[in-house]
């Protein structure tokens, strides 16, 4: 098990390096640079060259990459070119907001998704199943940007229950959490339902029935436990995606966070900030995947046995 863990963690190193190269090069191949955002009307034509030298943008790309990577490995994310602040400060301000939003959305999609999935499975092919699965299909296909605006219209404008946007109170979290969480709920509900139906057909379930256990007890006590293994894996994978998926939702609801920071910095071509944000999101996906693998190994006796 420990050898497996070490192997999995070591595998992250080449992935990290590959991700860092991709992030760096994509960003620098996008047309435009931060200097255009810094140059002021009225400044002299020579100012551009001076600024390129000042921010090290005149050096060859591989050299810029080398400097950036070695700084990142030493924990130095650099200073934002346009925003003029240490990138670490900007990230530290944004990250707690993104984690709160992402964490609550994950919690919501887990509870609601597993609950709905179980109800659907227990009522397989009857109206509650069809209603839930229909709703789930709708939820998973709606773009979060649009869903956010619709929720805003209903709960803030028509009903007046919740604030439209911002991060001034906990009530302002409800709509963004719902917007992100509904997509996840759909996924979790679908997987819970399928795994439960699949597990219900196993031999051990027939045995439990033969032993005379009540069907509800069999479903909730035994089948659900089996069915949760893929659900947990999917949830761990979603940790990373939830932070990434929050990008548009943060902008719509005017919330601080990595998404808002990323979009703003991207439009200004503020390389150090964009690189750091993308790196954070990539790391979240990588760590989520790692966590998923580990949880699966811990929970699934077959995987555990294979690793022993």
């Amino acid at each position: 098990m420990i050898a497996y863990l070490v192997r999995r963690i070591l595998m992250l190193v080449p992935v990290f390096l590959a991700v860092s190269v991709v992030i760096f090069s994509i960003l620098h191949f996008i047309p435009g640079d931060p200097i255009d955002n810094l140059l002021k009307i009225g400044s002299s034509p020579e100012a551009r060259a001076e600024m390129e030298v000042r921010y090290g943008l005149d050096r060859p790309l591989p050299v810029q990459y080398g400097i950036w990577l070695s700084n990142v490995l030493r924990g130095d994310l650099g200073t934002a070119i346009v925003a003029r602040r240490p990138v670490a400060d900007l990230i530290a301000q944004a990250l707690p907001h993104s984690l709160a939003l992402g964490g609550l959305a994950l919690l919501f999609s887990t509870v609601a998704g597993v609950g709905l999935g179980v109800i659907a499975a227990l009522n397989r092919d009857r109206w509650p199943d069809r209603a839930i699965m229909g709703g789930v299909l709708l939820g998973s296909t709606m773009p979060s940007f649009w869903l956010g605006l619709i929720l805003m219209l209903v709960f803030s404008v028509w009903l007046g229950w919740l604030p439209v946007s911002g991060a001034r109170s906990w009530t302002a979290l409800v709509l963004p959490v719902l917007t992100i969480g509904l997509g996840g709920t759909a996924l979790v509900a679908r997987i819970t339902r399928v795994s439960m139906i699949e597990a219900s057909g196993r031999d051990f379930v027939t045995l439990l029935h033969a032993k005379g256990l009540s069907p509800l007890r069999i479903q909730l006590g035994h089948v659900l436990r089996h069915a949760l293994i893929p659900v947990v894996t999917i949830l761990a994978l979603r940790i990373g995606w939830i932070l990434g998926g929050a990008v548009t939702v943060e902008v719509v609801f005017a919330r601080p966070g990595l998404g808002t920071l990323l979009i703003k910095s991207l439009s200004q071509h503020d390389y150090p900030v964009v690189q750091a944000c993308l790196l954070m999101l990539a790391m979240a996906v990588m760590l989520g995947t790692l966590l998923g693998d580990i949880l699966q190994a811990v929970m699934d006796p077959r995987v555990r046995a294979a690793l022993a």
């Binding site: 002021k40 100012a47 944004a94 911002g166 902008v251 719509v252 005017a254």
Partner: protein, 527 residues
């Protein structure tokens, strides 16, 4: 028995009074939404910042302010005088002014501030570049000794970037200045700032030195201002509609109708500082022929665009500068206005004859050109109208749309023929910025590099000793550029804002180029 009764009565009236005070305090608050192009300003340090927002202009006063007609008025400087040779400026400072941290504002503070400004050597340093040194004449008089005449000095001094910072705290706070704490002499002081999210300002109770164009010189009538940053216009509008905020500092054209539908909301407009135009690449055939440039420029029907695309709000543009600038007053013959007869005649003269499908032909080749625009919806809409207007004189323009953040690099290739662009600037040096021969590609999208224009440009940029000479030189430069048709002027939008009319009372007149310090001093909360 009387004592407890009196005590009760007393405490009841005290509570009532407290309640009334609390209500009055609550009523003296207003919530603003920053203009979308001001979202994400990372610091309130005007010396080092690359972008600043409206709140910065309330924290920091400037030596001079600008009125709506773009003339300069006294603010922290009571009066000023420029030496006839332009080599020095003397400013007499207002007395009794203090910074938010209690430090006095005087000649020594101005000297220290200018020295800090120059020492920062950042992107803003050019604004004070012509100031060689600052002399303290007496406690309330300073003299700027110039390295060259700078007739644009007052413009720079009225800029938010030259908000007068308190030098001692600036040095002591280092990189934290403008982020955690900030001290100016403004009508409001910083209470809290969360980058990208919210800024809270509190009234400076000692303030009595407001700019000349405000009716109220201080203190401000509203005690507490909250500035929220909302990047999405539709979200900001819903906040205004539901009473979450009181004022939007920018409203896009497509939401004006929505605001007007609401009985409690009102639109506030000020003359704009923005201008829309169509650059014409003078190096790319067929527009290397001035006749075709003039034809394309005169095919643009500005009045039709004003009415059809912008609902009549704003004004047409017939020069490259906003109408408020004196340098826009060029000879009538230099103005570029819709003239389809002239456009058609020029195209005929250049050998482009009308083809059967409405596209002109020369040597069997159709008159097809590219027309670049950016992805924002208003750009696309306007570009389609421009395309139709060009077609009316036989020029077929094919639209290519680029992402707004990437289009600058596309211009650097120099491959563009026509484009639709806008700029936001209130100084004639914008002509130098967009038509200077050493900025080809971007910002000089027209690739205009003309020896006579360069001569006039040098005279305009550095040849004037005083502001009258600068105006004359820039007018001449601007006028010449117009006669070469490197672009077609189109439209001057208004600045559009929206507010909750039940909550806020606007000043009867706003004699300023933007909703800034003067307007905030006169603004009132109704409830």
């Amino acid at each position: 028995m009387t004592f407890p009764f009196r005590k009760t009565l007393l405490s009841a009236s005290v509570s009532l009074a407290a309640l009334m005070v609390a209500q009055a305090a609550a009523a003296q608050e207003a919530v603003f939404v920053m203009a979308t192009n001001e979202v994400g300003a990372p610091t309130y340090n005007p010396i080092k910042a690359t972008m600043l927002n409206t709140a910065t202009g309330l924290i920091f006063d400037r030596l001079v302010s600008q009125a709506a007609d773009l003339s300069y008025r006294p603010w922290l400087a009571e009066s000023w005088e420029e030496a006839p040779d332009g080599m020095s400026w003397t400013f007499r400072l207002k007395q009794g002014v203090t910074y938010h941290n209690g430090e006095p504002f005087n000649a020594a503070a101005v000297k220290a501030w200018i020295e800090l400004f120059k020492a920062a050597q950042g992107e803003n340093a050019y604004m004070a570049e012509a100031i060689a040194s600052v002399e303290v004449v007496d406690d309330h008089t300073v003299r700027f000794v110039m390295s060259r005449p700078e007739p644009n000095l007052l413009y720079n001094l009225s800029s938010t970037f030259m908000g007068v910072v308190e030098p001692k705290s600036y040095v002591a706070l280092g990189d934290n200045y403008g982020v955690t704490e900030v001290y100016g002499t403004g009508a409001f002081r910083l209470d809290s700032f969360t980058i990208g999210q919210e800024t809270i300002l509190l009234r400076n109770e000692d303030y009595v030195w407001g700019p000349a164009e405000a009716a109220n010189h201080g203190p401000a009538k509203v005690a507490r201002l909250t500035f929220r940053e909302i990047p999405e216009d539709s979200t900001a509008f819903l906040e205004l509609k539901t009473g979450g905020v009181d004022f939007l500092l920018s409203v896009p054209a497509d939401l004006i109708g929505e605001v007007e539908k609401e009985p409690n909301l009102a639109i506030l407009t000020l003359p704009g500082q923005e201008l829309w135009y169509m650059p014409i690449n003078v190096t790319k055939a067929p527009f290397d022929d001035i006749r075709l440039r003039e034809a394309a420029a005169k095919a643009i029907n500005q009045d039709e665009i004003l009415a059809a695309v912008f609902g009549g709000a704003g004004a047409v543009a017939d020069t490259f500068l906003i109408s408020a600038l004196p340098e826009s007053h060029v000879a009538e013959s230099a103005r570029i206005a819709y003239d389809p007869a002239r456009a058609n005649a020029l195209l005929d003269e250049a050998g482009w004859t009308m083809g059967p499908d409405g596209v002109r032909l020369k040597d069997g080749q159709p008159l097809k050109v590219s027309l670049w625009t950016q992805s924002d919806s208003i750009f696309r809409r306007l570009t389609e109208v421009v395309q139709a207007q060009l077609k009316a004189v036989g020029i077929e323009a094919e639209i290519t749309t680029f992402d707004s953040s990437m289009i600058r690099d596309q211009y650097k290739t120099g491959e563009q023929q026509l484009a639709v662009r806008s700029y936001n600037w209130d100084n004639a040096d914008i002509v130098d910025w967009f038509f200077g021969g050493d900025r080809l590609g971007y910002p000089n999208v027209s690739m205009f590099n003309d020896p006579k224009a360069e001569e006039l440009r040098t005279a305009a940029m550095t040849g004037a000793k005083n502001s009258d000479e600068r105006v004359a030189n820039f007018t001449a430069y601007h006028e010449y550029v117009l006669t070469q048709f490197p672009m077609a002027p189109i439209y001057q939008p208004l600045q559009v804002m929206a507010y909750n009319a039940d909550r806020l009372a606007m000043p009867p007149a706003i004699d300023a180029p933007a909703f800034g310090a003067a307007a905030f001093l006169d603004l009132e909360v109704k409830e």
